[in-house]
Symmetry: C2
Subunit: 205 residues, 2 copies
């Protein structure tokens, strides 16, 4: 497709780099921006720019945050003696949306996957162990909310081994979530239920 | 949906204002940007920002342009004695992509539509008449490439009235059954019209 303006060509190119957006959709978005006031484009551009530039990660749980501690870690009404361990940010959002969980989180930043070359040292696992070891108020329970895949099970197994010395309850979300599926796509009711019906890790194995 | 960061919330809000993009898709795009290098977000943001801020409209045909005259109007190899009148920019792009037209354009910037409160004075019609009246080389033909709707027909009727004094050929793009389509699925009005406006076989080949 040929464009009458380099500005349009450039914008279409950049927008169509986003996942799931092709050149035709990108052009539609560009024409929408051109039809609207300059402030619409400006606020879109500035929100994208400041998003990536100013985003911080919570020092305690590695969740995305606006300050040194994320909104969940700094909330005194959350139970900080329960930690829900998740793979990545979308999982936090998905669990938060169920409204069934009121503890804190720990974002691993990935999952142990030898095929992809991701080992335990690439993830926020040592910071989780430190968090348990040095907790101001003792951690009572660790909930493993990992994807029900082989990689998730491997990571869960590794974590239980690492956390065993600290004498705490380790549970896993109930297998109500469809096996083989990605956690972030599970529906809210299933996901909420799977937190309420969590089971002790030993009893399953 | 609740977000752990105002930056994310703001970006999702801004992106989901775009047509056809909901909050879930916006979040997916935001997470994509967060996973990638800061330069990806920066070049996306700057292309969006400079698009709307620096875009110009061709002084002659009102097409989108990087300078005072658009790439088509300033191209000496195009026939500037033929003007194709279109409603808006996507129509220029669509006709350019056929590779069948080598004349110039005139972008009306809309179509006469009393229901939407769009009258002839809201469109680039007087500039078209001026262009025909004051042309360096006389304009030989005006092709009306307007949508085959009531509004398109109204606009075409108004334009032919306005252009009548200048003694030039005024044509309209052919209407009929789309090439490659099944005849039985064509709507009655199109099919009926295509019988009334049938052409001699030889003249087409």
């Amino acid at each position: 497709m040929q464009f009458p303006s380099r500005l349009i060509e450039h914008a279409v190119e950049e927008i169509s780099k986003l996942p799931g957006i092709g050149k035709k959709t990108a052009l539609r978005l560009v024409l929408h921006l051109l039809k609207n006031d300059v402030s619409v484009s400006e606020s879109l551009a500035s929100s994208i720019s400041s998003l990536r530039k100013n985003i911080k990660y919570c020092q305690r749980c590695h969740n995305i945050s606006d300050g040194p501690l994320c909104a969940i870690c700094s909330n005194p009404r959350r139970s900080h003696n329960i930690i829900c361990v998740v793979e990545d940010l979308p999982d936090v959002l998905a669990i938060e949306n169920t409204g069934q969980y009121h503890g804190s989180y720990h974002v691993l930043g990935g999952i142990i996957s030898p095929i992809d070359g991701v080992g335990p040292d690439d993830l926020n696992i040592s910071s989780l162990v430190n968090r348990v070891a040095q907790a101001e108020f003792p951690i009572e329970e660790i909930i493993l909310a990992l994807s029900p895949t082989m990689e998730g099970d491997t990571t869960a197994f590794y974590l239980t081994k690492k956390l065993q010395p600290y004498n705490l309850k380790i549970s896993s979300i109930a297998r109500g979530v469809p096996i083989g599926g990605e956690l972030e796509y599970a529906d809210e009711i299933t996901l909420g239920n799977s937190i309420l019906r969590r089971r002790n890790y030993e009893s399953e194995h």
